[in-house]
Symmetry: C2
Subunit: 369 residues, 2 copies
Amino acid sequence: MRCKDLTPFMVMDIVRDASKYEDAIHFEIGQPDLPPSPKVLKTLEKNLNKAAYTQSKGLEELRGKIAKHYEKEYGVSVDTSQIFLTPGTSGAFIMAYALTLSSGDILGLSDPSYPCYKNVARVLDIEPLFLPISKESSYELRKEDIKGKNIKAIQISSPANPTGNIYGKNGLKELIKGCKEEGISFISDELYHGLTYEKRAHSALEFDDELYVINGFSKYFCMPGFRLGWIIVPKQKLKEAEILAQNLFICPPTLSQYAALEAFDEEYLSFVRDTFRKRRDYLFEALSEFFTIDAKPEGAFYLWADISKYSNDSALFAKELLEKIHVAATPGVDFGIKDGKKYMRFAYTKEISHMREGVDRLRQYLSLK
Amino acid sequence: MRCKDLTPFMVMDIVRDASKYEDAIHFEIGQPDLPPSPKVLKTLEKNLNKAAYTQSKGLEELRGKIAKHYEKEYGVSVDTSQIFLTPGTSGAFIMAYALTLSSGDILGLSDPSYPCYKNVARVLDIEPLFLPISKESSYELRKEDIKGKNIKAIQISSPANPTGNIYGKNGLKELIKGCKEEGISFISDELYHGLTYEKRAHSALEFDDELYVINGFSKYFCMPGFRLGWIIVPKQKLKEAEILAQNLFICPPTLSQYAALEAFDEEYLSFVRDTFRKRRDYLFEALSEFFTIDAKPEGAFYLWADISKYSNDSALFAKELLEKIHVAATPGVDFGIKDGKKYMRFAYTKEISHMREGVDRLRQYLSLK
């Protein structure tokens, strides 16, 4: 059965358990607490009567805005026909895997990486293969990691969940080249682009156009509940991709598409970026007091912390912190095999005052251990 | 490759092609032209600030309303924990198939039936097996149709797309019983419930609770673009279903869920039903002038018309009607193998005055053939 190896997306279980405590401190939540741009809400108000299906690939106007975004941000030219709006990036993963992998094929994933990758793959009877990354390789996969393993596609994310790492220009370029040499399809999850604090994140499209780029409105654009992502597919896959979108989704949510027409609001987005940069600076320093954090995150809104000083079972430790001091964070076992039990993910998606209370509770509790 | 046998969802292609003609008559569109209840729009307005994820299975309050709907409409008791809100019924199909079928397993489908069933199955590497239905069996599958064919699950729809047929109480009960005897999982697509004009549609849940019932807000509730469906799963599948929903969807669109809280508006819904009943009465009589329509549809908003007097290739005939007289309808080949080339689907989702213009064009054009 395709479901037998599925693992719960633990963070959703923790979100549920944490909701039982009124005074819970939330380091578990992988979504911004900031609202969407006021312009998004205003355009939504004007379009409340849009109740019909759209084209399967989504509104032409919105795909045009996304194409412009690629031109402006990365200097790459994407045809609007290559852009498919999807029900969240979740829908985009299903499309990417269905377009590149047959049953039994191997999908290479970083260890650690976003938990849903492996599970969506398993639902499609695709075998996830975990490729360990670490501080030594700047949390990047290298050519040599993917060779000779019968891998048919790899998926990376940059900035990465859970480490916050951003692939360097050269590392990304070489990995894409290596995949091409080996005949491995390349899937680039760029959902945290924009949430980058010092160095720029490169789009995989800067280096090749026969690959799959996934992004969406849930993080940087602060529109998680709108469930709107997109995938850019190579030109030779357009017909197949359209058939998939028609059959799997009919179309993405219509109201969300109209709302997103105003999402590229530069001024608001730089406020979003600044807010998360400050939070990162605070939490990185604060948590470094108790945990070993291998590297300061360069993007996204997560810290990947080594908790092995206190426990060798992150799932138990997460449960303990939640029950004893009502501090919620996500155990590393959700993300990887190699170090999953030694690490936990702390999201900085709440205000600094809220996080400070959590840090105070951790200080008091851990000092007794 | 899992995509190699996929067929386009033709109606979406025709919708696109028809949009080129300003004066097109639309018999192709599978969505109501009526807006959602005014109450839906009012509650939406009040909840524009709801931008966060919800629980993976959706808002407890909405699932509670759905559970009450089953109590009231069918006298069956459903626990809210069994109800999963999904991104359209499309998401519900993926869940149902993933929960019941492994790669290579056989899914039994009526011929004709909704085109996406077979394609979603193929994406999951499931084999669709078409089981012909006809006027002689009241367009119902019977026990004997499913025996000895190594079928692992069947999916039916009632009222059916494209025939408009409703399973009789006894036929449905016996088919469910037959599936149970053969160890075949039963998936009941009840999306057109409510759009029933004389006889009542029974929910499969009235006869057994170890089966899968799918419904949603796109048709009767006139909310297609909201992309909100639901699936009711057997109690022993709750954990697996929750993991699937977490990983495949994160959650259904949040705004759509808040909007749907007011969707069960009896007064408005009976206006919707009356409107479509009148349209059916008009179009059935009008099209009977040219085509052979085996049976007056009992529900949904489609007519399944035998066009073999004029053509033995419904795809070509659809193209001809669209190009010559700008009348759009869906070729039967989208829905089935057996009679697909001889039949076309006409949707009565537009006002009678609009349909009358189409009928006039058909009369003039077909009289010359």
